[in-house]
């Protein structure tokens, strides 16, 4: 079971001063939090993607590459990478590059995104959101698994003789989670490939997403990846803790009041009816255990703890309480409740082992430049001769 934190680089006024952080400060606060999460032994740090203020979240691979260099053990991920508006070719390259930089200590989560104008800004139509996400992932999947890709689809320029570089580390593509909260087709795609499925599990009623998780589990089994209970499920959550419950409620109240999605509601009500955990470490533990009861055994729990309005000092206190008083207890408790044989989420090491066993993993070595900035129809020394590049060539 992996425990970690996720965020989207949002910036909002600090309710005590009324002043929002600068973009520089927010970016470096995020890095500080990631380093602390690593030092405190959390398993995952994930950042989301937005392309508009008040967010600084436009370049997750850049941020994660920097964090990779500053951390030792924590797995870096996204929450989410926009599979709809990004070019899947660039996603293939950026995240494979990150995989090499981080030496496999990464994976990624794909989502449609929820900012309406981002579609037209990136030349897409939001009404095509679902088919865009599906088709783009189909291409991404191929780009990471085939050295030479010929491809034609509805949304993107066709490809002829294209090789996404670098090839995935050790020839093993990054593990992919598909994030969705309302779209059975995305769950189907995750299940078909045996990829992970993530429900953000924030801002909605408790267990609201269970039917989709169940569908994903059922289809995961249908496609022969394992039993339904073995499907790779991740859940979000949101937490604000203090040693004493009332201090947590009092401490969170000002941030709660200024959060757009909570307007018109009371903190008590939201804490009662949604996955938001506010209270003592024990209360957060109890609430999180209800997720396991409701959704079944799952592999990844991420909490949102650093809303844009929460100063880094407060976020670090939250992180420490979470990592020292909540996560260790949950590790033990959830393990003891876990059904026998339910797997952990894949990591680079486990995927390498599953792919090669004792054999040596692939190390892609390109052939020399053939004089036109390509390495010819068989781009790597070990390229499959049955799949040469079909490139336009002049005699």
């Amino acid at each position: 079971m992996q425990f970690g934190i996720f965020g989207v680089g949002d910036i909002a006024p600090d309710p005590t001063t009324g002043i929002p952080r600068s973009e520089t400060k927010r970016i470096h606060d995020t890095i500080t939090l990631a380093k602390a999460a690593d030092e405190l032994g959390l398993d995952v740090f994930a950042v989301g993607e937005h392309h508009n203020p008040p967010f600084v979240a436009s370049a997750p691979p850049v941020l994660l590459a920097h964090i990779a260099a500053q951390t030792q053990n924590i797995l870096l991920s996204t929450s989410t990478t926009l599979i709809t508006t990004n070019d899947p070719v660039k996603i293939a390259e950026d995240y494979a590059f990150l995989q090499h930089v981080a030496l496999g200590r990464m994976d990624l989560m794909l989502g449609r995104g929820n900012t309406v104008p981002v579609y037209p800004w990136f030349g897409q139509d939001i009404r095509d959101g679902v088919p865009l996400a599906l088709e783009h992932y189909n291409l991404l999947h191929k780009l990471w698994r085939e050295d030479v890709v010929d491809w034609e689809g509805r949304f993107r320029t066709p490809l002829q003789g294209f090789t996404a570089t670098p090839r995935p580390l050790d020839g093993v593509p990054p593990f992919v989670w598909h994030g969705a909260i309302r779209t059975p087709e995305i769950a189907e795609q995750a299940a078909f490939h045996g990829n992970g499925y993530f429900a953000n599990h924030i801002l909605a009623p408790n267990l609201h997403f269970k039917p989709l998780v169940d569908f994903y589990r059922q289809r995961f089994e249908h496609y022969g990846h394992g039993r339904a209970q073995d499907a790779i499920v991740g859940l979000g959550g949101q937490a604000f803790l203090a040693k004493r419950s009332q201090d947590a409620y009092n401490g969170f109240q000002p941030y709660f009041e200024s959060y757009p999605m909570f307007r018109g509601t009371s903190l008590d009500q939201v804490a009662e009816s949604t996955p938001l955990s506010v209270g003592s470490p024990q209360e957060v533990i109890d609430k999180t255990l209800t997720f396991q009861e409701g959704f079944g055994d799952y592999q990844r729990q991420l909490w949102l703890i650093d809303l844009g309005s929460i100063p880094i000092e407060v976020a670090l206190e939250q992180l420490e309480l979470l990592a020292t008083e909540v996560v260790p207890v949950l590790r033990t408790e959830m393990d003891s409740r876990r059904a026998p044989g339910v797997p952990d989420a894949p990591t680079h090491a486990s995927l390498v082992e599953a792919t090669y066993g004792e054999a040596e993993p692939r190390q892609a070595r390109p052939r020399p430049n053939s004089g036109d900035n390509t390495s010819g129809p068989l781009p790597y020394l070990d390229s499959d001769p049955a799949m040469p590049a079909q490139m336009p060539r002049f005699a």
């Binding site: 309302r182 795609q189 289809r219 999605m261 909570f262």
Partner: protein, 227 residues
């Protein structure tokens, strides 16, 4: 009364806020007229009225948070389970009640597909007589509901006119006829996949569990790597 037949469920929404409320009075008369006609046709009828005023704050809250509160959800589920609806609004500032519109805004697009509905409004002046047909009818057209041909409207003077009672009876008869005919059910059953749906919705035919999901669609094939 026929034995063994499930009762027809008549559900009314009243957006009136007063007590007593003329909107509620018109609602009750329309429900009464419809139920009477249904009983004359040997049908077992259950009737219930959802008052929006007591859940007004929850309606507003549900709009902002994006998810209906439990109370609002319960009201929506009663609409979904209805065989026929009566919807009554007061006219404010030459338009339908914002409370009613807020409530309607919370409904899934497919909640009321082909559902027989009697539309009604009350107002302080006969000059607002067209609000029900100019505003409520297009709203229920968007929802693909099945409005009865006759709409009801009551200005103050109508409460002293026998004609109001006649119109109520006529409209109630129309709604009863639509409900008895089963045409709404036939329309929805016959072309359900052709309407816009969302997973996990409140409509009686909505896909709610893994077993309901249609996996034989173009998008599902694309999800499995096909084109």
């Amino acid at each position: 009364m026929s034995v063994g037949e499930a009762p027809l469920r008549l559900v009314a929404i009243s957006a009136g806020t007063g007590d007593p409320s003329t909107t509620r009075m018109l609602t009750d008369r329309a429900v009464q007229a419809t139920a009477t006609r249904l009983r004359e046709s040997a049908r077992v009828v259950s009737a219930e009225v959802i008052e929006l005023a007591p859940i007004a704050a929850q309606i507003a809250q549900s709009l902002v948070s994006g998810f209906p509160t439990e109370t609002v959800k319960e009201a929506i589920e009663r609409l979904a389970a209805a065989d026929a609806l009566v919807v009554t609004t007061p006219v404010y500032k030459a338009g339908i009640s914002g409370l009613l519109k807020s409530f309607i805004d919370l409904l899934d697009n497919d909640l009321l597909i082909a559902k027989p509905v009697l539309l009604a409004a009350t107002a302080g002046s006969a000059r607002h007589a067209m609000v029900v047909d100019d505003q409520l009818r297009p709203l229920f057209a968007f929802l693909r509901a099945l409005p009865a041909p006759t709409s009801l409207f009551a200005a103050p003077e109508d409460w002293g006119s026998a004609d109001l009672g006649k119109r109520v009876e006529r409209a109630g008869g129309e709604l009863a006829a639509l409900a008895i005919s089963g045409v709404g059910r036939d329309i929805a059953d016959g072309g359900w996949s052709g309407y816009q749906h969302s997973f996990g919705g409140s409509a009686t035919r909505a896909e709610r569990t893994a077993d309901d999901i249609d996996i034989d669609t173009d998008l599902m094939r694309l999800a499995r790597g096909g084109s």
